[in-house]
Amino acid sequence: MSTSNKKGAIFFAYNNEQLDYVKLACLSATSVKKHLNLSCMMITDSGSLAYSDANLYSSGIFDDVKVYEKTDSTENIRNYYDTPYARYKAQFNNLNKHEVFDLSPYDQTILFDVDYLVNNNILNLAFNIASPIQLYKNAHTLKNAEPDHIFDKRLNDVSIPLYWSTVIYFNKSVESKLFFNMWAHVKENYEYYQSLYKFPEGLYRTDFAVSISMHLLKSFYDCVDDVFAELPGTPMKYMAYKDDIDSVTKDGIIFFANDQKEEWKNILTYSEGENLHMMNKRAIERHYDELMELYV
């Protein structure tokens, strides 16, 4: 384990025509600063910075903002949902997350997706564990159940388990470098691995790329490993695309947790002090100011 104390959080934020990822990154970073007290860095491009509210990202939320232009212009259209009643398509631009190893100025880093909100300090435990790579393997919905969709559990219904790229801890070790090199290789040869692991063509999904990387690095065996390990505090809790936020209280969030089989039904759930992957980004936008109040 690295003996250095330089720890930080990194966020990749490349806007598309539908979503202001920089704005989302500001909220996520504010939550990280409040609960983990980490130095935060945003990696973005000049276009996203020019579009976004400079008062927000330059207000001290980020200790560093790195302009790193996208070099990959491959079409990667993703279907987004906002509750069961709205749907939109947009280019998914976060294609270079695997480059974070070289881009990170920290000795120990947690890479966060910008739609991840930190509401406790459990991820700080990751810095004290001798595992160079840590990420989430299991995930639970707001109803504390396994994901409804097979592709949120496995690459196909009989395939390898899914590892989530939403939050990744890494240090500057040889093993970490191996992981990111493998990720780069999988991305470079994504069509081949799509055919080999038999998952649907189309969208490049970073979760699939890291899952395949983990499988390759563990000698094609799904095992418990001290080197490529799971983050503390599993499973990862997430708000699905078809869930919605009812309101934000002074300490937590009230959600509508959607029923996948009967989409007109929701149950109310309350979350306080839990880290959350908020997949419905439009819901975050609608309640942005209230969510920001949780962390200031």
Partner: protein, 116 residues
Amino acid sequence: MDSKLEKALDFSNFRQTLYNQQQTLFSKVEDLKLLTYRDRLIRTTEQLIALTKTMIDLEYSEFVVDDVNGNPVKIDDPNDFLENIVYTYANAKNEHFQGYEKIRKARGIRSLVNIQ
């Protein structure tokens, strides 16, 4: 829909929400029971506390326990370890108790999910 059925459905929604909040609380508490010791992740339990206290009473200067992955961890300072695990466990269970009391006293979905 007749009112008897509606009440039954309201009740089942309440029970479903109640169960979900209990599970959420349980998950949170399980996370709070975690601590790191000598670069390893350990989950504090009543058994671990009892084992550690026993080892101290029997004057073992060191002993071995499992981390969350079932791998062995050498405890070379049992007293320090005991203090840490007791503190972590007690804090987690206190949160559990307080959260459970809130849930137990809720008489409707609104109070369960903190709707003001």
